[in-house]
């Protein structure tokens, strides 16, 4: 049979494809519907949080920080309650990471504050002297992309039925409403910050990246 296959490239290719494809079918598909069901109480991201999540992706925080607390006592002692599948229901893409050059961040909102992040992003060594993390000063001047974050929220609402604008849920509304809500959230965060340029920018109606990413990190609980 194999000799015959080697002389018939078409059937050879079909054979290879069948052999490699069905592992995926069996392993991935059966659990698909269940794994994407949210845990009770998990809400979709606000526009500002989404903008912050995109900053997190842009500067590749996931390369060094995980968002997955494994079921070991040493991990729950260090980072908090073990991670549950439903907590990630609104994470597109998932941001578990694969390497902990720095600590896990899945519940960082429970034990770090806005001003801690502000100091740490500006100069990590001022907070943790032995750290190898670079400073992210450019986040204090670059502006967050609120419109794209809104577009993302609208997309997942329309395509995946993510529950925006539901009773007692996160309100999305129109683009202008989305922008205004993001700015309100940004003002609340900037009030706890000390960098003058950032405060001025928010007062002018602009949202620097640092404000958005802090909104995102504070939400990780």
């Amino acid at each position: 049979m194999f000799h015959w296959l080697e002389k018939n490239p078409f059937f050879f290719s079909v054979g290879v494809f069948v052999v490699i494809a069905f592992a995926g079918l069996i392993e991935i598909l059966p659990n698909f519907a269940e794994a994407s069901r949210p845990v009770v109480g998990v809400k979709p991201y606000t526009v500002l949080e989404l903008a912050g999540k995109n900053v997190y992706k842009k500067d590749a925080c996931y390369e060094c920080h995980s968002q997955l607390i494994r079921p070991f006592k040493s991990e729950t002692d260090r980072y908090g309650q073990v991670s549950l599948s439903g907590e990630y229901a609104y994470d597109r893409p998932f941001l578990w990471g694969s390497k902990r050059t720095g600590p896990d961040l899945h519940r960082v909102g429970n034990y770090r504050t806005t001003d801690w992040h502000e100091n740490h992003m500006w100069d990590p060594k001022s907070v943790v002297p032995q750290t190898v993390m670079p400073a992210y000063k450019h986040m204090f001047t670059n502006l967050a992309d609120v419109d794209t974050a809104y577009a993302e929220a609208l997309t997942v609402k329309n395509v995946f039925n993510t529950p925006y604008d539901a009773p007692n849920g996160i309100k999305l509304g129109t683009l202008d409403e989305g922008r205004a809500a993001a700015l309100e959230d940004a003002k609340a965060i900037a009030a706890n910050m000390k960098n003058k340029d950032v405060k001025d920018a928010v007062a002018r109606g602009e949202i620097p990246e640092i404000v958005a990413i802090i909104a995102y990190l504070n939400r990780l609980k």
Partner: protein, 488 residues
């Protein structure tokens, strides 16, 4: 009967991809060395503002060595090996010639665009699939064109029976096509929202745990079909060719091939152990990872036994040395991977530097060594000149071998140290170390790794220099060498 002597193979596309293999290899390894040094000396993050941080450079390192260096090497060897094992010249078909050239130029332009978008921070943040959707479209196009080349060449072949290397090239084409398409399913937000925000941004079709499953089904098997399958294709062609020995066992190659195809795809979930994916998937990933030793070692042993009775060539021909060491590192790496996929080992190894250590003894010792050996073998036949310097090749071999050993030993120690420190508790059951203690302790190992990066990079420059000299100023050959590559 067709006379084979009259057949003049056309290497113009193979040559083009040879150049990009060298170019992207240098770039990818340069960036790799820099980011290794950044972990030891963080001040190196600020060389070019926000564009020079570890954040932007690490995705570039991985994407350039995978999609730049390795794929170029795969294409270069395919356009060389494919013609020869099927006894057909590209020059016989103007259509295939055009497709080959189009393949290269579209690939090259796409690669440059990919580098620029990553540097600007445009990423969908999936590891080894970082590119945003417009680049994905280009990659799919490039892949389809390569498929046309592969099956077009097969269509006009004279040798009816496909040689082992062709099995592996076909599997590479099919495997990557399937994996890449499914993992990159995403919706461009600009179009879905009626024209709001950035046109480059997209959102994944899968969420959370599902996204993780698809990503690591892809991530692990991109390693399979990018770093293993086509490299096995190379060793099956170049080692017998260079040594003049027949492949040891046809049955073993059959078993290894179909075994590898069947088993590899199951193993992806070993990247997700102790995570929120169901236990049975984790167990499947673990079991199949261990079964995977069989087909992997099957190929490697088949290669080593091909040298049976001819081990003296190891002392005489540095090219044989490269390929035998590559096969050996393949065995090491495919034993190490399954060990890390055992649940209890994974609990310590996951998230630590042991993982990059494992990846690099595979890629530096196996993938890069094999690609370089392949190109060295091709050079005298493509450029009709002897290899410029045997001495330089010997020096390069020992320098890079030392570098690989330094890399994986330092990362093994670093990884296990960190994994043990994270879980260490004192007599009252409290954690013994704060996280930063486990970072500070790694400094010497990070420094050793940076040094190994420098050594490997210097070795690669020696390879590049040797190749360029071979192309331009080495002694001209009057007739094609049959087996052993001539070198000065």
């Amino acid at each position: 009967m067709q006379s084979n002597a009259a057949l003049e193979y056309d290497y113009s596309v193979a040559k083009l991809f040879t150049y990009t293999t060298i170019l992207f290899g240098f770039l990818g390894m340069l960036i790799g060395t820099l980011i290794a040094a950044q972990l030891a000396w963080p001040e190196l993050n600020y060389l070019i503002g926000e564009y020079g941080t570890f954040s932007r450079l690490r995705p570039m390192h991985t994407q350039i060595v995978i999609f730049g260096f390795t794929l170029s090497g795969v294409f270069a060897t395919f356009y060389y090996v494919g013609q020869r094992v099927m006894k057909v010249s590209m020059a016989e078909s103007p259509f295939l010639m055009f497709m080959g050239k189009l393949h290269f130029w579209l690939y090259f332009v796409g690669a440059l665009a990919a580098v620029i978008t990553l540097e600007l921070g445009m990423t969908q943040s999936k590891e080894y699939a970082a590119f945003e959707w417009p680049i994905d479209v280009v990659i799919v196009l490039v892949w389809v064109i390569w498929g046309i080349s592969v099956f077009g060449l097969i269509g006009i072949r004279r040798e009816k029976s496909l040689y082992i290397s062709m099995w592996y090239y076909i599997a590479t084409f099919l495997g990557i096509a399937m994996l890449y398409l499914f993992n990159n399913m995403s919706i461009p937000t600009y179009f879905a929202s009626g024209g709001i925000g950035s046109i480059f941004h997209s959102v994944s079709m899968y969420s959370g745990t599902n996204d993780a499953l698809v990503q690591w089904w892809y991530g692990h098997n991109a390693v399979a079909f990018g770093f293993t399958v086509p490299i096995v294709a190379m060793v099956y062609y170049f080692l017998p060719k260079e040594s003049g020995q027949a492949v040891y066992s046809y049955k073993l190659s059959l078993l290894s091939f179909w075994g590898l195809m069947f088993v590899y795809l199951w193993a992806g979930s070993h990247h997700l152990m102790w995570s929120t994916v169901p236990d049975w998937m984790q167990t499947m990933g673990s079991i199949f990872s261990i079964v995977l030793i069989l087909p992997s070692w099957g190929s490697a042993i088949n290669m080593l036994l091909t040298m049976k009775g001819e081990w003296n060539q190891l002392t005489e021909n540095p090219l044989i040395k490269f390929m035998v060491l590559a096969s050996t590192f393949y065995m090491l790496s495919t034993l190490e991977g399954p060990i890390q996929a055992i649940r209890s080992v994974n609990a310590i190894a996951h998230f630590t530097d042991w993982i990059p250590g494992h990846v690099h003894d595979g890629v530096l010792g196996w993938v890069v060594f094999m690609i370089m050996a392949g190109l060295f073998h091709m050079a005298p036949r493509m450029f009709k000149r002897e290899i410029y310097s045997k001495k330089l090749m010997e020096a390069q071999f020992w320098l890079q071998t030392t570098a690989v050993v330094l890399y994986f030993t330092s990362m093994w120690i670093a990884g296990i140290t960190q994994g043990m420190m994270w879980r260490a508790v004192d007599e009252y059951g409290n954690l013994m170390y704060s996280f930063i203690d486990t970072v500070a302790v790694l400094h010497p190992y990070y420094a050793i790794r940076a040094l190994s990066g420098v050594l490997y990079l210097v070795g690669f420059l020696m390879f590049a220099y040797n190749m360029i000299k071979t192309m331009t100023s080495s002694r001209v050959l009057t007739e094609e060498p049959q087996f052993r590559s001539p070198m000065a």
